[in-house]
Structure formats: C-alpha cells, structure tokens
Subunit: 227 residues, 2 copies
Amino acid sequence: MTNKLNLNNLTKSEEDYLKALFQLLIEDNSVKVGNNQLAEYLKVSPASTNNMIKKLKSKNYVVSEKYGKLELTEEGKSIAVRLIRKHRLWETFLCNYLNFSWDEVHEVAEQLEHIKSYKLIDELDRFMDFPTKDPHGEVIPNADGEYSILPKITLSSLEEGAVCQLISVNDASVTFLKYVSEIGLALSSEIKVQEVREFDGSIKIQFNNIQETVTRKFADNVFVKVI
Amino acid sequence: MTNKLNLNNLTKSEEDYLKALFQLLIEDNSVKVGNNQLAEYLKVSPASTNNMIKKLKSKNYVVSEKYGKLELTEEGKSIAVRLIRKHRLWETFLCNYLNFSWDEVHEVAEQLEHIKSYKLIDELDRFMDFPTKDPHGEVIPNADGEYSILPKITLSSLEEGAVCQLISVNDASVTFLKYVSEIGLALSSEIKVQEVREFDGSIKIQFNNIQETVTRKFADNVFVKVI
DNA sequence: TAAATAAGTTAGGCATGACTAACAAATTAA
DNA sequence: TTAATTTGTTAGTCATGCCTAACTTATTTA
Ligand SMILES: [Mn+2]
Ligand SMILES: [Mn+2]
Ligand SMILES: [Mn+2]
Ligand SMILES: [Mn+2]
C-alpha cells in the first residue's frame, strides 16, 4: 500500500507558484499582489501565471476575483510553508554538513524542496537537532508549520547614524552573497550607517572596524534589526 | 555565472530511461533488450518507449537499428552510472543517518537521484566516508563511475544442498523487503538450501538455526554468493 | 512454408506548463 | 473626463511525455 501521505498531488510548478505567492503576500507583507507581479517574480509570462492561478483557484489554494488581487487559502498557505521549511532545512544541511557556502545552497535547495516525503524532512530536521535559522538568517518553520516571520527592515531604509545588526539576507543572488562575505559582513554583524548619499542612494557603513560604501541595491538586500 | 557543469540538460524521464536500459543491458547482462521489454520494465506503453528511444538516439545516448536491439553509447552508460551512484548513495544516507529502513529508501531515492549538482553528491559521498555498498548490498559506483558489477546469482538458481551467503536483494518491492527482514534474513546471512520442491518451485532454506520455506518468486529476488 | 503470435512502429490525442500576440479592464495623468 | 498607461485576460501555439488503436515487421510453430 503506497503511503498517500507523501503525495499531496501537487506538481513542482504548482508548489513553486504557491511558495512565490506566500513570499510576496506574507513574508513581504504586500498590500496587493497582482497577476503581473507574480509573473515578474517567477520570471514567467503573465499568461502563464494567469493560467496557473486559474488552476490553483479550482483546487482551492488561491482566492481572487477577476482583475482583483491574489490571496491564498489556509490550505494554500500551509503548502507554501511546508515548502519553505523544506527549502531552509536543506540549505542548512548543505551548509553545515556538506561544505556548501551560503551562496551555493539556494539553487540546489530549489530542487530538493520538491522531494515528496514527510519522513525525509522530519528526519533531516531531527538529524540536525531542529535548527531554527537557515544559512541566510531566515527562520525555519517547525514540523507544524509554525514560525515567526520577522519584519523585513532593509539596511537601505535606515537613516544616517543608525546602528543595527545584520539579521538575514536575500538568498537568491549568488553574486550578492559572495560580495557580502567578501567585504567581511556576516549574520549578526553590527553595522553603523555613517552616511546616506542623496545623489545615488549609496550608503557608507561601518562594521568590525571596516568602512565600506555600498549601493542602494546592495542595501536593499540586507535585512537588519535596529539596536 | 551559472555553473553549466551541473546541467547535463537531461529531463527526469530521459535519465530514467537511460538508467533502465543500463540495468537491463549491463547489470542484468541481457543478450537482447527490445523496445517492449523496456516498456514493461518502466511500466509505460511500447509507444512511449519507442518515442523516447528515438529522442535518445538523436542525442547519441542510444544506438539501435529499426526493429533491432537497443544499446547504449559510452555517454549513455556514463549518465546511467552517475544516476545509479546517486540513487545508492542517497539510499545509504537515508538508512544510515535518517532512520529509514531498507524497504523505505527506494521510493525516495528515485526522486533524489534526479537532483542536479555534482557537488551535492560528491560531498554526500565524502560525508559518509565513501561507502561501497548500499542498504540492499549493491555496489556504489565511485566518483569516476567505476564499480564492480557482481554477477547476479539468485537463490532460486541453486541446487539442493548448496550453501551460500546473501549478497544483495532486489530493492524495488517494499513488501518483499519487509518479508525478508521479518523472517530474520539480512545481508551476509549464510543460507543452506535444504530442499527444492519440484511441484511449485518452493525452497526450504536454513539460516541462523531458522528453517523457512520460501516461494520461487521470493528466491528470484535474493542474490547470493555460493560458498 | 503459411498462419499465428510476438515485437516494434506510427498516427492521433491528451495533460501540463511554457510562450506570443491581441485584446479588455482598471488605474493614472493630463 | 478623456487619453495614456498599466494590468489582467484570452486565444492560439509549442515541447514534453504519456496514452490507445491500428498497423507493420519479425519470429515461432504447426
Ligand atoms: Mn534559498
Ligand atoms: Mn535561505
Ligand atoms: Mn533503489
Ligand atoms: Mn538499492
């Protein structure tokens, strides 16, 4: 008898769409997420998202009115959180046990998160002794799908003179993550905003006796807690 | 710059077909493997295999003449061995680190073997200190794709009075593997063939002071080394 | 060797998930 | 409040990988 528990019957694509919607709606706390925004986020055409949203609505994972904003049902959210949990646990495993650096894990985790087996992920969790943060500082949901979603305050949103601590980073860009490590920044680094330049939005920061000037784009990808 | 080394550009299906062909041709050492045989092995229709074989021929992984037997090119073999290596390393990981039993690993490994990342599998190999056998007794190819293919002598092929050692088992059936453990058999068990019954092919065996009668079908799935 | 059977191929169809191009609705700016 | 722009939808196409039904070729067996 095949264990139906492992099969939620969602395709890789359906899972990816639900996860993307969750990250836009809940993790980024957006007021409105529209069809085109989702398309851009997933790097597919609006026609594709329109199509998939139709399908996810018929399966009761998504709710929306024609021309209206997209929303997730509880079931849709639950699937997304499960995916996020898997993604972050795998990233943690790759970093802590398989010598991956933090800029190498995301791509592989994007694949691993679609492996269907409850036992696999719960045992992996146990094997690592239930980690709570992934290599990029993101909170890992527990087996019940519970986790705290920290407000995403970007380094770029701070004023001159502010002092903060690096909490997490946007993990999707390899070159960005390499850059972060290269200049000596890491999770928990204490950063002082020394100067915000009107002209181009670049920011002069100081940390561990290092001074660096970073672009606005860089600072947009660094999430901090003000202290 | 994306690491193209991780992408051999094969779909999951293409990989599965090449692996299946390899297992029929090389591991089972068949004289001839035909289209329908491959279809039956993969549980798809002959039309499907016919189609895929066409595609694999155009990509130079398979060679065959119309109505002729199927063969793999070196490149085709190499892809298949890489897949087998991944499959068996993952099975080993699941058993040795994540509390899976040997009857639970195959299904999940069927998914994990398609994850594309050279680093992942080589690091997993290193993490486990380069295991040479998977939980079912099968030899794990090394990073260069080298491994010894043991001749598959089935328990059912032995004569009365023969004494042998259990080397490996067919891993694809959950109920079979559970049955093996249940009666107390395991890898390395020393088995004596006490009686082969003409009537139904059933075999009376003895091991660790246990006596059992097993069916021909059961004995077909047990691979042994005569001692 | 001719008929029966087995093995392999082809044609046509379906589901999934992409795409482009054309169009419609909603929002924003003039 | 109309026009421009943005956003969303629809229609039609394509690739992949599966299917069934019908057909062709090869192999058996009588
Ligand atoms: Mn990630
Ligand atoms: Mn992450
Ligand atoms: Mn297996
Ligand atoms: Mn195995």
